[in-house]
Amino acid sequence: MRERARKIRVSCVVNGTAASFEAYPMARLLDVLREELKLTGTKEGCGEGECGACSIEMDGALVNSCLVPALQAEGAKIRTIEGLAIGGSLHAVQQAFIAHGGAQCGICTPGMILAAVNLLARHPHPDDTQIREGLSGNLCRCTGYMKIFESVVAAVGKVEKRA
């Protein structure tokens, strides 16, 4: 196959810090995060936008990083699972997942937590339906979902405002 595209330089902000990388324009943001920026907390499940394992926040919106081309990350503010804890202090949602058994094998966990954090930013006091909808794009094959649901319920009201 003919090689036409050149790698481009993309500048963005990742977890509050300026970042820059080189990639082919249609490289998946998921691969760039993991392989160029070495942020391997973001996982790959299906690679087709069905499972939510690669969920990240881009300009405040939850997205599947497997479906974002590197070029579209130019200028974006990106938050991954690595951006939630501050120093040694975990985010309230992370703590709730530990306390309530919301994590099992761990592959869905980063995406699940990002989805929950994003949900609580949009709906600080979600009802059951809003929690279910907020998590509906994230598949888990271990927990049966109830412990994840309970973890999110437990985190309600505990998310601190952060700068």
Partner: protein, 287 residues
């Protein structure tokens, strides 16, 4: 097999005029790329034949929801999340909001766009039936100018549409003419969230003095394009609600849809469900 990334070019035009110039420079060569929720799936599967993409995601001219007296106009890059959040759409065009809420997950709804859904031309898309029943029109722009086309006849056959090389969908316009109409939407899939439709039904009806004064019905996933059920509509129009000949209307609908067996469902199941959804729609009209 995964795609060979160096084969794929992508450019970001600085504004709409630059994008249209690029499209005109090599007609058919450049494909617009919006939220990527369909194209990136094909790329990863090694099934993306196009090699040159124009990143239109940041074009302000294709964004925004504008409310005027007669119409609501949605920029082609309006996402499903934006559709759901809009108060006037929620009040006057609830079927479009339902379709948006039932398309993919939160993450997909943040990136998937109305224009992309139209241009991707999947017969299983959920917003097209709502757009057809609301009498949507689409604004198509090119370096040569602007034209408007009725949405109901935009898709001509499977994955084919009334869009010429060099043209781009700029906006979707909905006439604000359904105040007081009864409205019904139902998507049937394998799972409540996320699943692609087995069948999708949108219907609106105006009831006057116990009669169906006017009615519009459209379905997804029962043919090569979104299907406007004109024969069923004809049969229902003018009928008294208490004495609708339901089996005749269901037969008319069944005769005009052309469902197939595929990985998501069977033609027989889709035909049966289409009949049932028409019955449920009539209950809503009578309710």
């Amino acid at each position: 097999m995964r795609a060979f990334l160096p084969a794929y070019e992508m450019e970001t035009p600085r504004d709409l005029a630059a994008a249209l110039e690029r499209l005109a420079s090599e007609p058919g060569a450049w494909k617009p790329f919006a939220g990527g929720t369909d194209l990136m799936v094909l790329l990863e599967a090694g099934k993306l034949p196009h090699k040159k993409f124009l990143n239109i995601w940041n074009l302000a001219e294709l964004r925004g929801i504008h409310v005027a007296v007669e119409h609501v106009t949605l920029g082609a890059l309006t996402t499903y999340a934006e559709v759901q959040r809009h108060e006037i759409l929620a009040r006057e065009f609830p079927l479009l909001c339902r379709a948006a809420a039932e398309t993919g997950s939160v993450a997909t709804q943040n990136r998937g766009t109305l224009g992309g859904n139209i241009a991707n031309a999947s017969p299983a898309a959920d917003s097209p039936p709502a757009l057809v029943v609301y009498g949507a029109e689409i604004e198509i722009v090119s370096a040569g100018g602007t034209r408007w086309a009725p949405y109901a006849s935009f898709h001509t056959e499977y994955k084919k549409m009334n869009l010429r090389p060099g043209e781009l969908i700029r906006a979707i316009r909905l006439p604000r003419s359904h105040a007081g109409w009864k409205q019904y939407f139902r998507k049937v899939g394998t799972r409540r969230a996320q699943a692609i439709s087995k069948i999708c039904f949108a219907g609106v009806g105006r009831v006057e003095a116990g009669r169906i004064a006017d009615v519009r019905v459209a379905l997804g996933s029962v043919g090569p394009t979104v299907l406007h059920a004109v024969r069923a509509e004809e049969l229902l129009r003018g009928q008294r609600l208490g004495s609708v000949d339901l089996p005749a209307a269901q037969d008319a609908l069944s005769a005009e849809i052309v469902p197939i067996d595929d990985m998501r469902s069977t033609a027989r199941y889709r035909r049966n469900v289409a009949r049932n959804l028409l019955a449920e729609f009539l209950e809503v009209l009578a309710g």
